[in-house]
Symmetry: C2
Subunit: 194 residues, 2 copies
C-alpha cells in the first residue's frame, strides 16, 4: 500500500476477522475507498453499535439487545436445546424443528485448556429445568463436546428429565468415499432399520 | 440472528465487501462481538479515517494521503507504467522491476459502458511525457484493456516515446493442460528462441 498509514491501519483491522489474511484485507480496504462516504460512516457506526448494544440473554445466554432474548421472551416449550455458542442457535433455528428453548454454555469442559464444569453455564441450566421434559445436548461431536454432553447427561438424568444427544453419522448429501473413519464407524454402529 | 437489529446492520455492512455473502458476514459480525471494545472502536475509526484521508495523487492518480504520492515524490525514472487502477500498482511493486513511475487511468475505454478516452486519465498521461523514454502499458489483457492499450499506443508513438505492453502467455508455475485456448494461442505466436 505504499505506506499509506490510514490504509495500513484499516487493513490491519480487517485481518482481525476470521479467515482474513493480508491479501483479502487489502481487497476489503480498497473497496471501502470506493464506497460512498455515508456507507462508510454507517459501517463504522454499525461496528460500534453492535459491540455496545449486544449482550447476553440473562436466561439462555443467547445474544440480545435486551435483558431477555426474543426466543426466551416469546417462545413456550418444554424442551431445552443446549449449545456451546450463541451462533449454534442460528444454525439450529435454520433447521426444521419444533421450536425449542435454548441454553448457551459459552464454552465446553476442556481439561486441556483448564476449563471445568464451573467455568461454563451448567449451574444456570440446572436452575432452568423446572417444567422441562427434555434436554437436547447439541454440543459439537468433538472430544470436548462429547465430554461436556456426558457430564451434563449424568447430572440431569437423575432429576427425571429426558436427555438426548444430536445424532451423528454420515452427512446428508455427502459422498461415502469422503467420510472419515470415525464418522463411518459411528454411522454403522447407529444404523437404523428401514 | 434472531432479529437483533444492530447485528443485522453490521452483517449488512460486511456484505458490502467484495466476495462476502450473508454467511461470511455473520461470521465477521460474531467475531466483532468477541473483540475487545477498544479494537472495535479502532476498527470503526480506521474505516472513517481511511475513507476521509485517502485521496488520489494529483500527478499519477495513485492513492495517497498527500497531494503527491510517495512514489511521485521520491522516485526518479524515465519509464511510466500505465495501469487501470491504483491496486494494480501494488501488484507491480511486488514484482522485481527497476522502479517505474506510474500512471493510473482510473478505468478503461469501454464502448459497452459508454466510457470513451476522455473519461479516463489519458490527457493527464500525455501531459507527463516530457523526459519520459518509455511507457509500459500494463492494462489488463482483456478486451477493454487491449483496446485502451492500443488507443494509447497510437497516441504516444508519434511523439517519439517507446511504447511497450506487458507480455502475455502461459502463467509461470501453471499446468499446460489448464491453459485456455486464447492464452495458449498467444503463447505459441509469441514463442521465444532459447
Amino acid at each position: 500500500m505504499n505506506n499509506i498509514e490510514s490504509m495500513e491501519r484499516l487493513i490491519y483491522a480487517f485481518t482481525r476477522l476470521p479467515g482474513v489474511g493480508r491479501k483479502t484485507a487489502e481487497r476489503y480496504a480498497y473497496r471501502v475507498l470506493e464506497l460512498p462516504d455515508e456507507d462508510v460512516t454507517n459501517f463504522a457506526k454499525a461496528l460500534v453499535e453492535a459491540k455496545s448494544k449486544v449482550k447476553f440473554c440473562t436466561q439462555c445466554g443467547n445474544f440480545t439487545e435486551n435483558d431477555l432474548c426474543d426466543i426466551c421472551r416469546t417462545r413456550h416449550s418444554d424442551v431445552i436445546c443446549v449449545v456451546k455458542e450463541p451462533k449454534d442457535i442460528v444454525a439450529i433455528e435454520k433447521s426444521k424443528n419444533e421450536g425449542y428453548l435454548y441454553h448457551v454454555l459459552h464454552g465446553t469442559i476442556s481439561p486441556m485448556e483448564n476449563r471445568g464444569p464451573n467455568d461454563i453455564r451448567i449451574k444456570e441450566l440446572i436452575g432452568r429445568l423446572d417444567g422441562i421434559k427434555e434436554v437436547i445436548l447439541a454440543t459439537n461431536p468433538d472430544v470436548e463436546g462429547e465430554v461436556t454432553a456426558n457430564y451434563i447427561a449424568k447430572l440431569i438424568k437423575p432429576l427425571g428429565v429426558k436427555v438426548t444427544r444430536l445424532a451423528t453419522g454420515i452427512q446428508m448429501g455427502s459422498d461415502l468415499q469422503y467420510a472419515d473413519e470415525v464418522t463411518l464407524t459411528k454411522a454403522l454402529q447407529d444404523r437404523k432399520e428401514m
